[in-house]
C-alpha cells in the first residue's frame, strides 16, 4: 500500500505524459480515418480549418458564438456571485429557496430554450440567456457552498478584532471563498459555451453550432469536424488555463 507520499507538482514527465495522450488521440483519429471514409484525416481537417478561418463568413459565425459565450459567461459570474452570496449569507433565503435551487441544478435546462426562442426570437439574446441560465448555477452553488464552509474561527477572529460587518465581508469572507469561486467560474465557462452551442444547434441565426448542424445535414463532414474540433480546443484551452490558475491559489 502506498505511503502518504509527495505529490509530483510541475513534474516534466507528467507534462510529457499529458502531451503524449493528446498525440495518441490524434494518432488514433488518423488511424480511424483510414478505416472509414466518413471521417476525414487530421491533416485534412486542419487544412479545412485553416481555409475556413480565412473566410469572412466563417468569422461571422465565430463572432456570434464567441460574443454570446463571453456575455453569458460574464453575466453568469456576476449574477451567480450575487445570488450565491445571498444564499450563503441569508438563512431565510436558504431555507425557503434552497431545495428548489438544488433540484433545478441537476436538470437539463436546455429544454427551456424553446421558451426563450418564443420570448426573444432567434437572435443572439435567446442563446445568451440560455448560456446564462445554465452557467449561473455552478457559480451560485459554489459561492453559496463556500460561504457556508468558512471555518467559524475566521468570523470569531474578525469579531475579536472589532471588525465591522462590511470589513468582515470584504477582508475575511470574500477572500475565504476564492477557491470555490474559481471552481464555479471554471465550470461556468464550459457550461456557458456548451449551452450556447446546443442552442445554436437547435435554432439560431448565426453561430458555430448552426454551422455544425448544417454541414452535418449536407454531408460536409470535414468542415463539420473542423468546427467541432475548434470548439473543443477553444473550450479546453480556456478551462485548462483557469484550472491551472485555480491550483495556484492558496
Amino acid at each position: 500500500m502506498r505511503e502518504a507520499g509527495q505529490v509530483p507538482r510541475h513534474n516534466t514527465s507528467i507534462v510529457v505524459g499529458s502531451v503524449s495522450i493528446a498525440v495518441a488521440a490524434v494518432l488514433l483519429w488518423w488511424l480511424f480515418s483510414t478505416m472509414t471514409f466518413v471521417i476525414p484525416a487530421p491533416t485534412d481537417t486542419l487544412g479545412r480549418l485553416t481555409d475556413l478561418i480565412q473566410q469572412g463568413g466563417y468569422w461571422e459565425h465565430i463572432r456570434s458564438t464567441g460574443v454570446a459565450a463571453a456575455a453569458a459567461f460574464l453575466l453568469s459570474v456576476g449574477i451567480g456571485t450575487i445570488l450565491g452570496l445571498l444564499l450563503g449569507l441569508t438563512s431565510w433565503v436558504r431555507h425557503i429557496f434552497g431545495p428548489a435551487i438544488v433540484a433545478l441544478n441537476g436538470v437539463p435546462k436546455i429544454v427551456l430554450y424553446p421558451v426563450l426562442l418564443l420570448l426573444f426570437g432567434v437572435g443572439g439574446t435567446s442563446k445568451t440567456m440560455m448560456g446564462l441560465l445554465i452557467g449561473v448555477f455552478p457559480v451560485m452553488m459554489n459561492v453559496a457552498g463556500g460561504m457556508q464552509s468558512i471555518p467559524p474561527i475566521y468570523r470569531r477572529l474578525a469579531e475579536s478584532l472589532c471588525a465591522t460587518r462590511t470589513q468582515t465581508f470584504f477582508h475575511v469572507l470574500l477572500p475565504a471563498i476564492r477557491r470555490p469561486f474559481m471552481t464555479g467560474t471554471r465550470l461556468a465557462v464550459s457550461l456557458s459555451v456548451v449551452g450556447i452551442v446546443l442552442s445554436e444547434i437547435f435554432a439560431t441565426e448565426k453561430g458555430l453550432g448552426r454551422l455544425i448542424l448544417a454541414r452535418y445535414g449536407s454531408g460536409q463532414y470535414a468542415e463539420m469536424l473542423a468546427t467541432v474540433i475548434l470548439l473543443l480546443v477553444a473550450s479546453f484551452l480556456v478551462t485548462f488555463a483557469l484550472w491551472r490558475v485555480e491550483k495556484r491559489v492558496r
Binding site: 474561527i153 477572500p175 492558496r250
Partner: protein, 278 residues
C-alpha cells in the same frame, strides 16, 4: 505601550436557556474575582468546565446572564481593541502573508500603511519570527503559526491579553519554548494576562496565580499564589516548592476531573455536584 488594566469579574453567572437536553444549562454558577493590573493568571480545570466561556465573557464576545465584567473603568459589553484574544484553533488567514496577518487588526482599525508595517516588523521581532514577513502560513509549522497569532494580538497593544489554550495543538518541547517566550514578553510589556490551560506544569511555570475551576456549573474552587522566583525557567520543575504547588493544584483538579468523568459517563445533564468541595 499602554498601561495594563485590572479585571473585575463581578458575581458573574452564565446560564444557557436551551441546553442539550432542552433544559436550562448553568455553565457558570458564580465567579467573583479580581485581577490586579499587570498580573499573569492561569486558569486550569477539567475539559468543558467553562474556562473558555469565562474568557469569552472577558473579551466581550459573550454576555453573562448575571453580573458584569469591568476592565479598568470600562464595563464590558462588546469586543474592544484593548483586549487581545489568542485562540486555541488555527487562526491565521491562509491567503495573507505573515506580515499581513500580523497587521490585520491594525488595518481594520484604520492604522496607516507604513505604521502597520513598522509595528508588524516589531511584533515579529518580539515573537522571534523576524525575517518571515513574506512567508505564508502554510509554509510555517504549527508553533510558528501560533506565534504569528500572538504577534497579531500584541500588535494592537492591548491592556489585557487573553489566551485560550494557545499551545494545545503543539508538542511539549515547542510548548515549553513558546511558553517561556510568552512569559518573557509579559515581563517586558507588563500586560494583564489570563491564560487558560489544561497543563498544570505550564500554569505553574508561567503565572503568578492559578485559579482552579470546578466542573460545571463552574466556580473558582481554589486560588493558588505561585511564589516561585520571577526569573524562573524550566529547571525549577521538580524542585520541592514546585512539587508542592503541583500537588496542591492537581489534588483539586483531579477531584473535579473525576467528577466530570462520572457526570459525562452517566449522561447526567443536571450539573448538580455530588460531593463537597474542600
Amino acid at each position: 505601550m499602554s498601561e495594563a488594566a485590572d479585571v473585575h469579574i463581578n458575581d458573574v453567572g452564565v446560564t444557557f436557556p436551551d441546553g442539550p437536553d432542552g433544559r436550562p444549562l448553568e455553565a457558570i454558577r458564580k465567579i467573583d474575582e479580581h485581577i490586579e493590573a499587570g498580573s499573569f493568571v492561569s486558569i486550569v480545570g477539567p475539559s468543558g468546565c467553562g474556562k473558555s466561556t469565562l474568557l469569552s465573557l472577558v473579551a466581550g464576545m459573550q454576555m453573562p446572564t448575571r453580573g458584569e465584567i469591568v476592565i479598568g473603568d470600562r464595563r464590558v459589553t462588546a469586543p474592544d481593541r484593548s483586549v487581545g484574544f489568542v485562540f486555541q484553533e488555527e487562526s491565521t488567514l491562509p491567503w495573507k502573508t505573515v506580515e499581513e496577518n500580523v497587521s490585520f487588526g491594525l488595518r481594520l482599525a484604520g492604522v496607516d500603511r507604513s505604521e502597520q508595517r513598522r509595528i508588524a516588523k516589531e511584533m515579529l521581532q518580539l515573537v522571534g519570527l523576524a525575517g518571515f514577513e513574506s512567508a505564508y502560513p502554510s509554509e510555517l509549522s504549527g508553533g510558528m503559526r501560533q506565534r504569528v497569532a500572538i504577534a497579531r494580538t500584541l500588535a494592537l497593544d492591548p491592556t489585557v491579553l487573553l489566551m485560550d489554550e494557545p499551545f494545545g495543538a503543539l508538542d511539549q518541547q515547542t510548548r515549553l519554548l513558546i511558553g517561556a517566550e510568552v512569559r518573557r514578553i509579559w515581563r517586558d510589556t507588563n500586560k494583564t494576562v489570563m491564560f487558560v490551560t489544561h497543563d498544570i506544569q505550564e500554569a505553574i511555570l508561567l503565572s503568578e496565580e492559578v485559579w482552579v475551576m470546578s466542573f460545571r456549573p463552574a466556580e473558582v474552587v481554589d486560588v493558588i499564589q505561585i511564589d516561585l522566583p520571577p526569573d524562573r525557567d524550566s529547571s525549577v520543575v521538580g524542585t520541592e516548592r514546585f512539587n508542592a504547588l503541583f500537588g496542591r493544584i492537581w489534588g483539586t483538579v483531579q477531584g473535579e476531573a473525576m467528577h466530570a468523568f462520572h457526570v459525562l459517563e452517566e449522561g447526567a445533564g443536571e450539573g448538580d455536584r455530588h460531593h463537597s468541595r474542600t
